[in-house]
Symmetry: C2
Subunit: 115 residues, 2 copies
DNA sequence: ATCGTCACTTACTAAAAGGTAGGTACTTGC
DNA sequence: GCAAGTACCTACCTTTTAGTAAGTGACGAT
């Protein structure tokens, strides 16, 4: 477990929210707790496998809290830690930018169109 | 070339800067133009193949401009379009957050430590 | 009695991403 | 004459990521 060195802040941030789904999950959790199934519906297109896998990593990274109510049928709630909430706030401008330019972005050619 | 629909702004943004390198390249270009070799040194750890590949996509996406001086030896400069500059600004908070928490992030266990 | 729901887990497979190592054409410096 | 630097391109191969499909166990509803 050696400490990693990042050459800039962005690299450090990406170590936490890199990958296809983490940002979207983080955003999907929002300010209030979410149940697993709820979250799955919120993050459009994600598979159960990916959702759990990413949630576990995010828990280890200290941005997500998992609360198991130990009931039957199972009830589990996911929420953001303060660290996670802070990170979510920082993503807000990116989210707004995307919303603003959504149309333009949706019309861009993909790699497949080019190839 | 069908238009894509995004379920939130973040998803649209990620369509542009998703992946391991694009954010870092965007950040590396900065406000002034950069030559290819310069950029390669700025984005620590990237291979030439990835750098060109990503730059091409970013050009197609309208966030990067390529200027070829048609000299020998070759001289090419990359710079951000206004669309790209806007996007870069939106990444700033994320970059600052990462810088602020860099130490903490660097000490997190990785998946390999856990497995 | 079977279905659906809940929150997962596991095994297998497909696809995407990324790295390595080579080559190109031309010039300058030693 | 040879090495180094410029900005790439290409083929090949490995690694990583992600998706599919199945199963679990206890319950409530039909």
């Amino acid at each position: 477990m050696k400490k990693k060195i990042y050459s800039c802040g962005l690299e450090a941030s990406l170590a936490i929210i890199g990958g296809k789904w983490k940002c979207l999950i983080l955003w999907g959790i929002g300010q209030d707790a979410r149940r697993f199934g709820e979250l799955k519906r919120a993050v459009v297109g994600i598979s159960e496998k990916m959702l759990i896998q990413e949630l576990k990593e995010m828990e280890l990274d200290g941005i997500v809290k998992r609360k198991d109510f130990r009931e039957v049928p199972p009830r589990v709630e996911y929420s953001l830690t303060s660290f996670g909430t802070e990170l979510r706030e920082v993503l807000r401008p990116l989210c707004e930018w995307g919303a603003k330019h959504m149309k333009r972005i949706g019309n861009l050619p993909t790699q497949k169109d080019v190839a």
